[in-house]
Symmetry: C2
Subunit: 461 residues, 2 copies
């Protein structure tokens, strides 16, 4: 025990960078782009702006690249720069019940760390909140302390009142190519799911690609959602009580949960036999368990749809038609469900058949909160659900059929299998819901295929 | 930015318990057993004891179990109990370059957290270092502070000078069965890889299973290893310099690395053109890069075999024969290699054919540091490597052939894909080495199968 020590979270993730997605040269580059772009999309969304994002990748030397990412989002105030870029587990999204692409407070600090570990250099951040000054900062992460370190700082005038953030970093042990695991494919898939976004992408050889907006309406914003009683545990209730100022359990239940009306509270009171007029601070585990047991016996309205924002059936259809030119497409948007913790989620699915669909058999396109999941396909709940379907029963007889499955999961908290956020854990309710969505789409495919067969038989008579 | 906040590492892992393996009822139970047993094995190993481990699982109610795990290891001093059981990222293994099953400082704190979150109860720990007293402690984890909280404490006399640790916890949302994902299979696979261990396992229905020692020799202990120059980066060198008291780069290189002799230092000096007599504290990034470039052009002896301890070809053979009764078994133990960071590793592989081998086709048994990897098979480097082999070229014509692949990776740091430690990231050198090991074993299988075919043809002539 003389060797017993504590390590900081940044030391842990530096040693285990594979857990953040920094494993393999191409994947590491795509991870850098992913962390920057998801932050820009989240920030633009929060500010209700049409996202204008630019990504420039240039080659400095063998396996040595410069990655520049710029957005027109809110910009970052000077005081927060060290925490945003140099502090893991610090962010504005983890503790709120809102659908966002980021949810950990690690992403861009991981990018600064990767750059620093492979090149010894700081990351340059140029940012302004649209006021008189632009801050230009060189920042590093003190891995032992998990703290941002401003190496140098310049203040520039901001005559055009530019607002946004521009990240400029160098990193090594990277590789660029246009395969489905590279930044090009990642950005293309991002554009499909976010059709109101404009992304300018410049490749190392200088090629400029513009993924332009094809929707001129900013989609509704995700809204912060209260937990739903369905799936809430005793521990959740006790944690919620800590952050609640309600003076009676009765009012706590109505104010802190979604879909709990005074009528439902009376039902809870009746079934549990509990005194709901006591102060919530007096609630102990036993009381909370009785609440949970009563809640389990009551049906509540499904979570509201306003908080969660899927890509949208039309955009999914457009996207699948754009990349696959299939002969058949069908999309399904399920109604909201909850998984443990009372966390609401929606499954959005699509099936494309024929044309360019399929990939020597079943091809699976995965998204979480409108962000493409490119890696760890073998370890994802979506893959497991898609493979559990007996596609023969829907008329897909051939193992090499031109079939592409599309699934997007939106939630206020995505249960990822690792901090690299590329695969979803197999949570029972989510797994089941994906299967239901795919079976629903499968029935539509089945009708199309049998219609096609009948037409074919008619012709050959 | 008014909602910008920091979360503790335990808050992060509580919210993302799936990342620790607490996802699904059976997997969560197996994870609890895994975290306790790997700690006991590590502790017994360090103390050079024959491990005597007991695991009792009993049903308290629907999906509600008590898990008791006891060992005869070193015991835990009172002062360290809060840090061992209630502090994530605190441990004795993460910062040392030694092959051990634990490497994060999270495992058992995660178990205490899971129990507390599902039952509200503390974990009871009974432990003694073999002195006059036994400490019996009820401990919880303060998730916000990432700190252990001793709820109650009792001191008992220790007349028999018992030494060890006994953990007693309750948890809900668990399920027990004897499938390959449950504790029974996990313990059986653990016993195979650690034949000097005795494990007593009592199932919920009261069935007692004894996995007895079948080896009466304690295997050699893993030894702390210095990093190997191969794969070491400039950042690694600068980090090593921080912890070194060497006064000249020349002596730093010899003392802090393995396989760097004074002769090799002269080669480094010649190729790099650097002054190796400066004080290491004066080394900057540029200098370190020049060292790394020189090192890349020099061949060094492979890392020593003493530090890394595989299961051993005989034990692997015995284990595969025991569980599969195959007609053919061949095992391969490769020599040490390094992956990035100069981290040494050894791949140990085995192929079993015929008899009970296979599982409607390729069956893969995975281990890391002699610990069975039960979950996340789809996301593991071992799986990827095994599937990349064209088994037809080794005479395995049938897709449903009775073929079982066994791989154990030992290293001073396993690059897991997530903190649940069930899948290995696809690091290029490790992936290649597993392939080489499997191809080597494949050639032996190929000779056996063609011999078998010839014998068959002779008979049928
Ligand atoms: N381009 C940006 N514009 C405005 N704010 C940003 C930008 N990038 C990051 N931030 C802020 O910095 C915080 C930290 O970002 P970071 O990527 O480290 O974590 P996250 O996005 O919250 O979670 P995750 O680790 O899942 O990505 C964000 O929560 C956000 O508040
Ligand atoms: N049964 C035990 N006997 C002796 N020491 C123990 C025992 N269990 C845990 N420890 C000590 O407590 C520390 C923390 O254990 P914990 O499981 O949380 O982390 P770890 O084993 O170091 O890493 P990992 O998270 O990978 O399991 C260990 O490093 C070890 O020093
Ligand atoms: Mg982010
Ligand atoms: Mg452990």
């Amino acid at each position: 025990f003389k060797s017993f020590k504590m390590q900081s979270v940044s030391e842990f993730f530096k040693k285990n960078a594979a857990m953040l997605g920094y494993t393999g040269k191409l994947r590491s580059l795509t991870t850098l782009v992913h962390e920057g772009v998801t932050n820009s999309l989240d920030a633009c969304e929060e500010a209700r702006l049409f996202p204008d994002i630019s990504v420039y990748i240039s080659e400095i030397g063998p396996e040595h690249y410069r990655v520049i990412m710029e957005d027109n989002a809110s910009g970052i105030p000077l005081d927060y720069i060290p925490h945003v870029f140099g502090k893991m587990l610090a962010g504005s999204k983890a503790h709120r019940n809102i659908q966002s692409r980021g949810q950990q407070g690690i992403g861009v600090s991981g990018a600064v760390m990767y750059s620093q570990v492979t090149t010894g250099k700081p990351t340059e951040v140029v940012t302004s909140t649209g006021d008189k000054i632009i801050n230009k900062v060189n920042i590093k992460i003190d891995v032992e302390k998990n703290a941002g370190e401003i190496i140098s700082r310049e203040t520039l005038k901001n005559p055009d009142k530019w607002r946004g953030t521009r990240i400029n970093l160098e990193a090594k042990n990277l590789q660029y190519n246009r395969s489905k695991y590279g930044p090009y494919s990642y950005l293309k898939m991002t554009a499909i799911a976010n059709p109101h976004t404009r992304i300018l992408f410049v490749e190392p050889d200088g090629t400029k690609i513009l993924f332009d907006r094809n929707v001129r309406v900013i989609p509704k914003n995700p809204k912060e959602m209260k937990p739903h009683p369905h799936g809430t545990s005793a521990d959740d209730i006790l944690s919620m009580i800590k952050n609640s100022s309600a003076t009676r359990v009765r009012t706590f239940l109505v104010s802190e949960f979604t879909r709990v009306s005074t009528k439902k509270v009376e039902e809870i009171e009746q079934i549990s036999g509990l005194d709901l007029d006591i102060n919530p601070k007096k609630v102990d585990w036993e009381y909370a368990e009785k609440l949970v047991n009563a809640i389990k016996q009551i049906t509540f309205m499904a979570p509201p749809t306003e908080g969660l924002i899927p890509i949208g059936a039309d955009s999914v259809k457009l996207g699948l038609e754009g990349i696959l030119a299939p002969e058949f497409v069908h999309t399904v948007t399920r109604s909201p469900q909850t998984y443990h913790g009372g966390i609401a989620f929606i499954v959005e699915a699509g099936i494309a058949y024929g044309g360019g669909a399929g990939n020597n058999g079943l091809d699976i396109i995965r998204y979480a909160n409108r962000t493409p999941l490119i890696f760890d396909q073998g370890g994802c709940c979506i893959t497991e659900a898609a493979k559990s379907i007996d596609w023969k029963r829907y008329g897909v007889k051939d193992d090499n059929a031109p079939l592409t499955i599309f699934v997007n999961l939106v939630s206020t908290h995505i249960p990822y299998t690792s901090a690299g956020k590329q695969a979803i854990a197999t949570e029972e309710e989510i797994y089941n819901e994906i299967r239901f969505a795919l079976m629903e789409a499968g029935r539509s495919l089945s009708r199309y295929l049998s219609g096609k067969r009948r037409a074919h038989e008619k012709l050959t008579k």
